[in-house]
Symmetry: C2
Subunit: 199 residues, 2 copies
């Protein structure tokens, strides 16, 4: 036993690789696993392994999917003239759930962040520009986050895409629907004033 790896320590070490999970949490999860039926650990391990084995990048939109091209890129009923650019795959779900968009998507895989050493080269910008070689695309809707990095990324992309003669739009930011003005956060109110619309 002394020569083999200690399964307890190994499991704690592996679980603490997850972001936001430290040694103490990893130990708590590991001891919890030990109190369950072995099938629980098997199911969790199986799902993690199955995920890594079955998910691929869509070669068109760079979303993570079980097929290439992905379900959305293969769906001919979607409007091919608008591409919505998001930072992360999970942002697509938010837009889809809103029911307000039936165009195509493009996943950047992050945002420009000089502090984190992320420049345009680390993002899937070239893949996006390649899609714009197709004249069908008339509008690029930038749906990066309304924060410093997301705004910088949107600005960078707008400067790159506008000269190609395409309409570049950005998701509206302001006070969330249902929020009372009194309780809205300062930045949202500031954005709402800055981007006020004519009525």
């Amino acid at each position: 036993m002394s020569s083999s790896v200690d399964p307890l320590r190994q499991c704690i070490a592996q679980l603490s690789r997850f972001p936001g999970i430290g040694d103490r949490t990893a130990a708590r999860l590991t001891y919890w696993l030990l109190r369950q039926e072995p099938a629980v650990a098997d199911d969790i391990a199986g799902a993690i392994r199955y995920l890594a084995q079955s998910m691929v990048r869509c070669s068109i939109c760079c979303d993570i999917s079980t097929a290439d091209p992905c379900r959305r890129c293969a769906d001919t009923s979607r409007d091919p003239s608008v591409i919505c650019v998001v930072e992360r795959p999970q942002d697509i779900v938010a837009i889809e759930n809103s029911g307000g968009f039936r165009g195509r998507f493009h996943v950047l895989d992050g945002a420009i962040s000089p502090l984190d050493g992320v420049g345009p080269d680390q993002l899937r910008v070239q893949e996006l520009l390649r899609r714009l070689e197709d004249d069908t695309v008339t509008e690029v809707l930038l749906a990066t986050d309304p924060d410093v990095d997301g705004d910088a990324t949107a600005l960078y992309l707008a400067r790159l895409i506008k000269p190609l003669g395409r309409r570049v739009t950005r998701l509206a930011h302001g006070i969330s629907v249902g929020t009372e003005l009194e309780f809205a956060d300062r930045s949202s109110v500031a954005r709402a004033i800055e981007h006020r619309r004519e009525m």
Copy 2:
């Protein structure tokens, strides 16, 4: 694809089985996994499965171990006359790291907690009593937590074991070493007064 299980949703569902990990955190961990090399998911899944496959309960002390009897129960250099009773396997590590104990251990696997529906029958009390049939054991050191459940469990065990003619002791609780009185929490100060020693 539509008929098979979605690996993304499956992984989120499985990870959210962990205590303290909700759907949102599970989704964050899953998307993090997708951004790593497949080997990372493989290593984590392997460690979880290896844990479940290789850990067993020691039939003597009820600790979780890779062997039965466990390393500590098989170690003849340890004092067989004292058994330290703890709630959880990880409590053994805390006691071992203190360097202050060289006797035997017993894992109860919890504490009596009427609110959570945990009574003595759900704990490894019978296994402890069986060990006391051996006359070598002269002292039982109760190291359950200094909270309502831990105190109740200690009291219950003391009433059970004292009539068997063994010395029953409890870990001292009070102000932690290094803590200034000014900053000690109320309960610890109360305990320290209650259990004050003659000098």
